[in-house]
């Protein structure tokens, strides 16, 4: 029910919305919660476990009950707090966790079965039969208990991530935060002021306090205007600072478009900020705590501060006959504000016998509310007082057990808050987050003047740290009444008294935990689920541990709190992963021949971040094998062209370049002649093979190293470590040139013929023997040529600056096609290298040594190199190691499978008989059957033996002959030409 003339809403801007399909209206400036209350809607949700009817408890992001679903399909947001959701025209909200409807929820039978559902019921009830857990119990529990659901459709909203930097981050824009931002802003500091609310002012918007003789919200507006005029102050509204991390890093969630009917029209729905601040002020305020009494969860029972907020900020009276129950002076404000607004206050119950008198209301001092009645919402309360019980008719109870400072962020780096007896609350410990100062209510200062004072002081101190001069601010005049309370956590009595509304945890549950010896607060939390999930104990934490303290005979400070973890309030995974879906997941690297590759219809295969062609299908080919076999044929019989630009290329120059290569490769490079290329093997320091590739010597002090595509980054890092970390005295410079050059393999008997058409000087085989390299002129462009082969045929790799890559590829392919060849893809490349027994990372997978791959002889005895010492450990060279062999199926149709294991022919295929495994397989069109590379115990000595290949996953067993891994042209005559 609206109260004329009250509230900060736009009365001239009416908006329409629906809740569970029923149309209502509210005003701009309303939250969904305030609009529902204004429309007299009290039942808004069903509880998590017992499906009890629940209403709106609070007026902020701490709301445990009023969780609703907004939107549908790809834009369905579950578990939205009605107290945070700003109203807009056309908003459609639905209640959750009920079936078939909110009013008639069949699962509310859970509440009748409550005696079985107490603390630890999962652990006790669903123990056996064991198999039932996954199939029956868990699905059943998931269906019955829970919150809102996702639609299962792709998220249609846009999210983003962003970085921000500042001198001072002020968290919270209530009186303390505003004062801190003002002082720092005036001193010229680079300030970010962030607040979770859409409107600046914090608690000032919900109260009738005056500052400097003006209503608090007017003062806030004036400060806001001044801050807006400063270009060194950034205001971030609707932004929750959710986590504090190392070295001044904060996580914050900005809700950019949740309040817009058009969802932002291209703007993100949410933005996840990482804010780096040199100093910070936490002015997060305080949260009011409920009092536990029997049936204190009935819709209509709210926190006293929330009732004031609905009244003062939104002009809503949450009831016609309101009662107030508290243990502190602050609760009295609710009664006074309501009466001043003309709302009937049916009673003010203060648990303190010596509570100050409030005039004009039926006041019960030393009384306690011990129960409530009502069907789906509050109708009456029972008050226990000296001389008996009294029943009061009321449709809204405003309760206050005092206020808990919002210390959450100060605990994110392992800080433990300290207990302050006078306010019966935990307060932050200074220094818990380096560079952060708490000020105002979150620091236990509950008066307006105290907040202003602490906010200013925190800013002055932070400015000093930052080396900025702050003028002592004149503090505005404000109320400085001390806050007095007498702790009251739970009203004794029968029945269920709720501590944690979101997780359905009662006083009895906490006591039960203590009885069962879950006495540590952390154990109690997990046993009862109190303070779990999104709630993180915002409403219930202190009261629950007070009950535990009482049950275990300890004090509250000894009992301690559980750990508050980030995020302060929930953050959608979509926001955390913003921009990283689809094409944003990881960069895509395209070669210069990519467009031509795609135009030829080649399926792409990912190699690291690169996209390479699998094969180039021709019309009429129905199977990749047909294309692959044809492309292998190009290379073996005519000429093939492949883009090999993705291989890493590192330019190494300097007087000590040769020393570096000798150090990182097992074999010698200082002896390599200028104009020649050598294959090199690189080890990790633990003696296992890291990578391989060819390195060309272009000049006395100038080499170009080639790495595998996948290991290019790792090798660069390794070389940088060797030069910076191990030999900084060497004169050597490294530079990746992978991207500068487009490089193509031209391989096959007609390779030279292809090249001769475009080199300005035709190739003379005398000048270009196998493993030579040098500068060439390619159609007038300075390029490089390397006579190397990964196919076993006469092969060249020709490189030109990348701008000419697309053009050169086209020309090469056309020439090759003219000679009966064409482009080949990764499948053919793989077949060609397996036929030759050349290794890739399938073989050098991180657990093999030079010895294992048959290259033990390549570890030079004449010098040290990275990995040499460790590669000579006895275990890495001993007989019995699994070493590289070739495999050939015994019958012509025998299948080989990579990943399959090898056994002796007669042995049972079990782990203890394992003799090795298959790493690479292909159908060899050259040989007409399948071939494979494998590691086999003592393999090189077993050529000719028949072994059994077993693939247990795919159920394939094949007898194979162990052979030389070089299947084709074993003496290498073809590639030497």
């Amino acid at each position: 029910m609206r109260i004329e003339g009250k509230g900060l809403i736009a009365r001239d801007h009416r908006v329409s919305f629906t809740f569970d399909g029923v149309r209502y209206s509210g005003f701009q400036g309303d939250t969904l919660a305030s609009a529902l209350l204004a429309n007299g809607v009290r039942l808004v949700a069903r509880s998590f476990k017992y499906h009890r009817p629940r209403g709106i408890l609070t007026a902020g992001s701490e709301e445990p009950n009023a969780l609703v679903t907004i939107g549908t399909g790809g834009r369905q947001d579950p578990n939205v707090r009605a107290t945070v959701q700003e109203l807009y025209d056309g908003l459609e909200a639905r209640s959750q966790n009920r079936w078939p409807s909110l009013n008639h929820d069949l699962l509310s039978v859970n509440d009748l079965a409550a005696p079985f559902f107490g603390a630890g019921f999962y652990y006790k009830t669903f123990m056996w039969p064991r198999a039932f857990w996954e199939k029956l119990y868990e699905p059943m529990i998931r269906k019955a208990a829970g919150l809102g659901a996702l639609s299962g459709e792709d998220n249609a909203d846009r999210y983003e991530r962003a970085f921000a930097f500042c001198d001072l981050l002020v968290i919270g824009a209530g009186p303390a935060g505003l004062m801190a931002a003002l002082v720092a802003g005036r001193a010229g500091a680079d300030v970010i002021l962030a607040d979770e609310d859409a409107r600046i002012g914090g608690r000032l918007l919900a109260e009738t306090y005056e500052i400097d003789g003006k209503p608090g919200h007017v003062w806030a507006e004036e400060v806001l205007a001044e801050l807006r005029a400063m270009d060194n102050v950034r205001l971030m509204t609707r932004t929750t600072v959710a986590g504090a991390y190392d070295h001044g890093t904060f996580a914050a969630l900005e809700r950019v478009s949740h309040h817009r009917a058009d969802r932002g029209a291209g703007a993100p729905l949410e933005c996840f900020w990482r804010i780096v601040a040199r100093r910070s002020v936490l002015a997060a305020g305080a949260l009011e705590r409920p009092v536990a009494f029997r049936d204190n969860d009935r819709p209509g029972i709210m926190t006293a501060g929330a009732v004031r907020a609905y009244l003062n900020r939104w002009g809503v009276a949450p009831g016609k006959a309101v009662t107030v129950f508290g243990n502190n002076d602050d609760a009295h404000r609710t009664a006074r504000d309501l009466m001043a607004a003309g709302v009937h206050v049916a009673g003010l119950i203060d648990s303190r016998h010596d509570a100050p008198e409030v005039q004009g209301v039926h006041m019960i001092r030393g009384g306690q509310v011990c129960g409530s009645t009502g069907r789906r919402s509050l109708e009456a309360i029972t008050v226990r007082r000296a001389g008996g019980e009294e029943r009061i008719q009321t449709d809204c109870l405003a309760m206050s057990g005092g206020w808990n400072p919002s210390v959450h962020l100060t605990c994110h780096m392992n800080g433990r808050p300290a207990w302050r007896r006078d306010i019966a609350s935990f307060v932050p410990v200074a220094g818990a987050i380096p560079g952060l100062r708490a000020a105002g209510a979150c620091n236990g200062a509950f008066s307006t003047a105290g907040c202003l004072r602490e906010g200013a002081a925190a800013a002055v101190e932070a400015l000093e740290d930052l080396g900025l001069k702050a003028s002592e601010p004149t503090l505005p005049a404000a109320d400085d009444t001390p806050y007095a309370l007498e702790p009251l956590w739970a009203v004794p009595g029968k029945g269920r008294a709720w501590l944690d509304f979101q997780n359905d945890v009662t006083v009895k549950d906490v006591k039960q935990a203590a009885v069962e010896n879950f006495r540590s607060v952390e154990h109690m939390k997990r046993y009862t689920t109190q303070g779990m999930a999104t709630d993180q104990g915002k409403n219930s934490n202190v009261a629950a541990l007070a009950v535990l303290a009482d049950a275990t005979g300890r004090g509250i400070p000894e009992t301690g709190t559980t750990t508050f973890r980030p995020p302060y309030s929930p953050i959608a995974i979509a926001a955390l992963g913003a921009g990283a879906e689809g094409k944003g997941f990881q960069p895509q690297r395209f070669t210069t021949s990519h467009a031509a590759t795609v135009a030829r219809g080649a399926p792409l295969i990912e190699a690291g971040l690169w996209y390479r062609p699998s094969y180039f299908p021709k019309p009429g080919e129905t199977d990749w094998r047909q294309s692959c076999d044809r492309e292998v044929g190009y290379v073996r019989n005519a000429v093939g062209v492949a883009d090999v630009s993705t291989l890493g290329k590192i330019d190494i120059q300097g007087a000590d370049a040769a020393k570096l290569l000798d150090f990182v490769y097992t074999n010698m490079f200082s002896t390599l002649k200028v104009g020649r290329v050598r294959y090199g093997l690189m080890l990790r320091e633990d003696g296992h093979v890291m990578d391989d590739g060819t390195t060309a010597r272009l000049g006395e002090d100038h080499y170009v190293m080639t790495t595998t595509t996948a290991a290019a980054g790792e090798v660069m890092k390794h070389l940088e470590f060797a030069t910076q970390g191990l030999h900084p005295e060497w004169d050597v410079s490294l530079c990746s040139v992978t991207e500068h050059w487009a490089q193509f393999a031209v391989a096959g008997p007609k390779a030279r013929e292809v090249l001769n058409g475009l080199l300005d000087t035709p190739l003379d085989p005398q000048d270009w023997p196998f493993m030579s390299c040098g500068a060439v002129s390619v159609l007038g462009v300075a390029g490089r040529l390397f006579r190397i082969s990964f196919s076993g045929e006469e092969g060249y790799e020709i490189a030109v600056p990348a701008r000419y890559g697309a053009s050169l590829f086209d020309i090469l392919v056309k020439r090759a096609e003219g000679l009966g060849g064409g482009p080949y893809g990764m499948e053919a490349l793989n077949v060609l290298r397996i036929e030759k027994g050349f290794i890739t990372h399938s073989e050098i997978h991180g657990r093999t040594t030079a010895y294992d791959i048959g290259m033990g002889g390549m570890v030079s005895a004449r010098k040290d190199c990275i990995g040499k010492t460790m590669s000579q450990r006895p275990g890495l060279e001993e007989p019995g190691r699994e070493c590289l062999v070739g495999l050939k199926p015994v019958g012509p149709d025998g299948r080989l499978l990579a990943g399959a294991h090898l056994y002796r022919k007669e042995a049972e295929a079990k782990r203890t008989n394992d003799q090795g495994y298959v790493t690479s397989v292909c159908h060899s069109p050259t040989l007409g059957h399948m071939i494979g590379l494998a590691f086999l115990a003592d393999g090189p000595e077993r050529h000719g033996e028949i072994v059994k290949m077993v693939d247990g996953l795919r159920g394939v067993t094949t007898l194979c002959e162990v052979v030389n891994p070089v299947f084709f042209d074993a003496d290498g005559g073809r590639m030497r030409g």
């Binding site: 070295h247 890093t249 780096v276 320091e685 633990d686 980054g713 890092k717 470590f721 970390g725």
Partner: protein
């Protein structure tokens, strides 16, 4: 976490690759013996307190950096280019 690169200044840890203890800079001679090599390649302290470790500014200037930091408080006590730390 923020790490001060000796060249680039303070940067977010996402720009860095982590290697491990700065002991990796103290490579033994080839004849130092099995124990020395075992220590160098495999053995690492796991101190609750101050440690020195190596970070590579991979998403930045390419410098290897020695970072002294406290594993308990996460405080970074100082950083130095690996090339300087060795020299």
């Amino acid at each position: 976490m923020r790490i001060t690169c000796p060249h680039c200044g303070e940067r977010d840890h996402r720009e860095f690759y982590y290697k491990g203890h700065a002991l990796a800079l103290e490579r033994p001679s080839p004849d130092a013996g099995e124990a020395a090599w075992d220590d160098y390649v495999h053995q690492r302290e796991n101190p609750a307190g101050v440690t020195r470790d190596l970070w590579y500014h991979e998403g930045g200037c390419g410098a290897w950096v020695v970072v002294s930091r406290n594993t308990l408080t996460h405080e970074v006590l100082g950083t130095q280019a690996a090339s300087e730390a060795r020299a």
